[in-house]
Subunit: 451 residues, 2 copies
């Protein structure tokens, strides 16, 4: 089978076989298929798409391009993934809460790029926090404290990393089958038994419409099913940023506040929905409502925050910053935006806020750029809120860089005002589940890892 | 302007600007744009197409990637190009005839690949014939004898060569704008003032339908107009091979016979149509009918054959082979296919005959393969002809290679027979001309090069 013939078949709209997809993906990983053939193939996939079976085969090839972790000895391991948004610090809150409720959480996260922040960058706000655990360290820590949040190791789904770098340079990112297989190959290779996906929808997300997001969610659930994973995808709004803080330390401080029972309502809602689903799929809770109650207890009794402290300590981070968030990196300058007249926030453009955070140095324009952990934006008003004349509606935390004036202007422009009342927008936009999702019985009590 | 943004704009169906196309094409030629970005771009062009203006800009970028010859001192130089077919030896006949009628012909030809033969390979049947003239040698020879047929020099439209190699490996060959710009960039860079294109249509050609062929023809004429060239495209049938001979020496012998007034009718028709148009566009003939009469005289008085002799001599070939074609390379084995019962040839599949010639070693499977100049096929019957029981309908000339049996079988299967009379198929399928094509007056007599 010649590689050019596989490219030609996809170009002409044919359905590829598992063998043909293997030929391209594994050949590419081994360096037998040159990057220009992969680039042409990827553009043909953007053009012609892939059906569910092809996408599952593609995912499978990507998984088989490297190692697949076996975490079964730790019980049913549950993972969580967000497709990325502005102010999305859900992992920082939900992973410790779920682990505190006894479900092992092994999460491999990424760095931020463009307007989308990354969990690894946020965690590095804790001085000394390591995101480069080896597989052995990951396994040891998971066994010891039931939680790990680290970077992707190079031996898991290496085809995905190489393909993603090429997609980024060749305009072949926007393809639902390519996005779905990229996310799911990493989750499968990382050894998860169940995955909760947070598919962001709106102006600040990659999926602009509920329809696109639902298609991506459906496809990822189908891929998970084909690989024996329980997968639930929740569609959540990303028109405005999630929570009030945007920027690394600021988001970490908001996550700690949320673990203390003091977080913004929208962030808390997404955390409880995702966490309840995680506990249910991990078979730690008989119902989602029971899972939600467990999470609320883990907030109330401080066990969630204690688990975050354990996580930071285990990965070499400065735990005094968990106990006293004022010790996190702090910006040197603070500018407050105040309302010129009394009005309601009609809309708040997440992508403009995200762009402003990049200008402040909190995000990176391109891979490898350094970031400033101290800077960012705190939104004092969200859509639906009333702001009286002279009251503050946003804070800009900066380090005195050249992008500050532009950032301030962007934050101002991100707000659309109205004189009359505004109904707060809907946050939870739907759920897509595996047909057999979570229907298996609870494991015996002896299987409990972290009671 | 970032290259990935240009790729994305084409992916999304936008019309690119001249600057954007330059960025990709000239960047690629200089090695600044990597081949994987060019590959993704090419697939996006196959997908989304290009309008006439974009295609003209693309052609212009490709021309400006290298040198452009200025042949004005030799008068109005006319070129000729065929999109490629089986048994197409038109150049070998028409170039000497037109040159003999006083229009300078500077033709850069290619090698054969797959079922399509190449003029350079055919000319190399003359022992010693050089196809690698330098630009200086080309100019000197054009001035001296008014005819050159050589290979493309590397400094003309280098972007085209590099892009074509990439297209071949990435499934991005079948795109009318890419085909049109590839052909026309070479013609423009080579300094032609007028071009006659022979666009082949049918089972043995790249363009399968008259509709596709007409679109390709229309686009090439438009590109030529945008660059100040007079272009005429003739659509000719390529269901059956052109003429009777397929294979290098066999085709050369048939070309010599045609120059002697003794060629097959279909070949002679295509030669006279293309040659008359060339003379008209070169302003050597006031009308096409007058051009046709000039060509017929050049056959009758032997001046066409004399010009071929001059060409072969000038480029180092063995002229005794022109005088005595039996001295051309000859196959060692001859198999004749005879009719099992009396019937008419209903169809003759050019692509099967072409494949058979590749099996005999007369063509190459991939670039760089050696070829056998002696082998090939002679068709003793063409569609519409009646063959009596026991009479020969085809000869297979071979060198005793491993593909002989398969080739013989293919030639047999290429013929479809019918008991009742068959109307010979139409050969000339239409013409597309520049709106101002050839309307300028004849040059003053003093400009004549080869009176």
């Amino acid at each position: 089978m010649r590689v050019v013939e596989v490219i030609e078949r996809k170009r002409d709209g044919a359905k590829l076989s598992a063998e043909e997809i293997d030929r391209i993906v594994l050949g590419f990983t081994k360096g037998e298929v040159p990057d220009y053939q992969m680039a042409a193939f990827l553009m043909a996939v953007v053009w012609r798409g892939m059906d569910d079976e092809e996408t599952a085969w593609l995912t499978d090839s990507m998984v088989r391009s490297g190692k697949r972790l076996d975490l079964s000895r730790y019980g049913r391991v549950v993972d969580k993934h967000s497709t990325g948004g502005i102010g999305d610090k859900v992992t920082l809150v939900v992973a410790p809460l779920v682990a505190a409720c006894g479900a092992p959480v092994a999460k491999m996260s990424g760095r931020g790029l463009g307007i989308t922040g990354g969990t690894l960058d946020k965690l590095e706000s804790f001085r000394g926090y390591r995101v480069d655990l080896t597989t052995k360290e990951l396994m040891t820590q998971l066994g010891r404290i039931g939680i790990v949040v680290t970077g992707q190791t190079k031996d898991l789904a290496p085809a995905d990393g190489a393909m993603y770098a090429l997609r980024d340079a060749t305009g072949t990112v926007p393809s639902i089958p390519l996005i779905a297989s990229s996310i799911m190959s990493k989750k499968i290779a990382a050894g998860a038994h169940a995955v909760v996906l947070d598919v962001k929808v709106g102006a600040g997300a990659f999926m602009r419409t509920v329809r696109q997001a639902r298609e991506l969610a459906r496809l990822m659930v189908a891929i998970g099913e084909a690989h024996g994973l329980d997968v639930t995808a929740e569609l959540t709004a990303m028109e405005a940023p999630l929570g009030n803080a945007v920027g690394n330390s600021l988001e970490v401080a908001e996550a700690i506040a949320t673990l203390r029972g003091d977080g913004p309502a929208d962030l808390r809602d997404v955390v409880l929905a995702a966490g309840a689903e995680m506990l249910y799929l991990a078979r730690r809770a008989r119902t989602r409502a029971a899972g939600r109650a467990m999470l609320e207890r883990a907030i109330a009794d401080g066990s969630g925050l204690a688990k975050l402290r354990q996580l930071v300590a285990a990965q070499g981070g400065d735990v005094t910053m968990v106990d006293d968030p004022s010790r996190l990196p702090r910006a040197t300058r603070l500018r407050t935006l105040t309302a010129e007249r009394t009005a309601y926030v009609a809309r708040l453009d997440a992508s403009l806020v995200g762009l402003a955070s990049v200008r402040l140095g909190a995000g990176r324009e391109k891979k490898g750029d350094p970031i400033d952990h101290a800077t960012g934006i705190v939104l004092r008003a969200k859509p639906g809120d009333r702001v009286a004349r002279g009251e503050p509606y946003a804070e800009v935390h900066s380090s005195g860089g050249s992008g500050d004036a532009e950032a301030l202007d962007m934050v101002g422009r991100a707000f659309t005002w109205r004189r009359t009342t505004v109904r707060p927008p809907k946050l939870m936009l739907g759920t897509v589940r595996s047909s057999h999702g979570g229907s298996a019985p609870l494991p015996p009590p002896g299987a409990s890892l972290d009671p």
